[in-house]
Amino acid sequence: MPGKETHRLNNANPGGFATTQWSIVLTAGKPNDSDAQVALGQLCELYWYPLYVYVRRKVENVDDAQDMTQAFFAHLLESGAVARADRCRGRFRAFLLTALRNFLANQWHKEQALKRGGQRLKLSLDLDAGESKFRLEPSHECTPEKLFERRWVTTLLEHVLERVRAELVDAGKQDHFEHLKVGLAGDSEAVDYQKAAAALGMTPAAAKQAAYRLRKRYRQLFREEVARTVADEAEVDEEIGRLLATLRE
């Protein structure tokens, strides 16, 4: 059935994550719950860059910034800070920023003392790559908080687009992404189907169909990714609205 087929762009990718990892973390409520640890770790590995940008904006020294970021994640994963997260404030994004702010204000010096005591980070963060990326950041007047929010959105989008692209590659349709991606940001009329069809060696009608599936899959994955960072799936649209507002500011 065509309806089934649109569910995934291919059936070969078994990957996929639990839908709302953040809710797993929140409901666990115990620092040593291993599911929660794993879920939180996955989230952190995805969204560390916006945090790094925030720290780096506050701290001039690259080494210090990298140490602080590492230490923050170690603190987050091991101290059970999450268990104290306020359920009502739901969103992972807001939680992370607040936790980081508190950490920078209070914890950093204590952590400094403990650092050589062997706390080890379980996440693999390529902080050096992050630093080179940071050097490309525009040095405009926007606050570290704003930059954090913005990077959050771009990180999220890059991740979703990467997933879409990876699915296409697995399905042997890597060219589809380049030729049909314009349709993701627009509606079905955004794509020049004649041109795309010629490039992809299919009929314009088939190109249109492919673009439709791509859009649909993108929307699904995007909502899935957003859902991972909110406490309840019902909050997804609200969070998307806030992300949109972030981009306007």
Binding site: P2, G186, A190
Partner: protein, 475 residues
Amino acid sequence: MSNPQICPNCGAKLPDDAPARLCPRCLVAAGLESHAVLAESAPEAPTIDSPAASGFVPPSTEQLAGEFPQLEILSLLGYGGMGAVYKARQTNLDRLVALKIIRPEATLDRTFASRFNREAKTLARLSHQHIVNVFDFGEVAWPTAEDQPNRPLFYFIMEYVDGVNLRQLISDGKLMPNEALAIVPQICDALQYAHDEGVVHRDIKPENILIDKRGRVKIADFGLAKLSTQKEGEFRLTGTHQVMGTPRYMAPEQLESTHGVDHRADIYSLGVVFYEMLTGEAPMGHFDPPSKKVEVDVRLDEVVLRSLAREPARRYQHASEVKTGVEQVCGVHAAPPTDHSASLVDPPAAGDEHLYNTVRWPAIAMLVGGGVNLTGFLLWIWLLSRGNYWHDFPLLIGHNPEATAWIFFLTGAAGIPMLFSGLKMLQFESRRLALFGAVMALVPLSIFVPLTAPIGIWVLAVMTNSKVRAAFRHA
């Protein structure tokens, strides 16, 4: 895609960090539930396998012709997320009309028909010179596939506007600030009227603002209109993606929810459109006030920024106030209706009396100064021709005939550019020539420098004024 730096969907400039060179705002907006409703409803459509389900393919004029015997369908004007618009002739009245059909996938919802009827009646009630008139509406049976039952195709018959939309004007770069200032008050009139009627447009954007050949503004597609006097939720127009406006033009409160949105959301959207008309791009991030980006009166900044206030309560509360604000800045009469088929010959003169006067007096002084210089030169020629040699002339310099000749020659030489400068200023034509004349008036070439130097300074002062510069640039 015409320009890779501009989002083809919303017209915004792509930020440097745009993922995959796609507009982040549109990408995020595409994830909204309201978009998803549309996508998920599609598989129920009987024609899922046809391209029509995955993307709307507008019916051909021939296909439609049979369904609308009262119309002669001439051509497809355009189509978009909501449906398609055709140019047609209403045969019995022999007038051109626009036929707008709603894409069938958007009308699957059972309650659509009643909502459509309610909306259409509201729209038909609006009658204003700056709002596209709705003449008729209804539904016709539309054959979907051989083995499927017919489905209703909803349509509007509307006033046909022969012209362009504001998006086209903005992207062609043809829109001058003084034209923008002529367009905004007309939009305000239309909005104020609709708001008084209890109708909020909810999707004001350049694509929905049409300008006919005579320069009159017509607002189309009160497609998201919602009766603001009715209870929240009672009249939610369409259940599909049309509930949302276009993110870039949407007021913050509209972005966050579709509830609690009143006519002030239109004022915000108008502010975005206004900003874009002046600067060529929609306000994003920490945007500069318009006067920082282009040469417009700084007083316009306040009008634009107040329309764009985040808090509805801090915005202008009525569209008519925006109009008043604009008119206070540019004098009561803005530029006359713009005709984009003809080039604008004398916009500053028409657009701004005050500006014209600012330039006129120094221009006349320049003409007088140039005239005096030239008269001196001609006098010398005349003396020469009468055989009165210069050593008889009282203004001899050390009885040096050559020096005297040079002085008179240079006096004439300074006079000619000054005359041209004055003329060009009066015609708002060449700012460079005007400046050259001013410099010539300042350089002590002529014996009349004590007279011409102040004129030169005056002209320089006037010509470097930002409004004057803008007027010359656009002329």
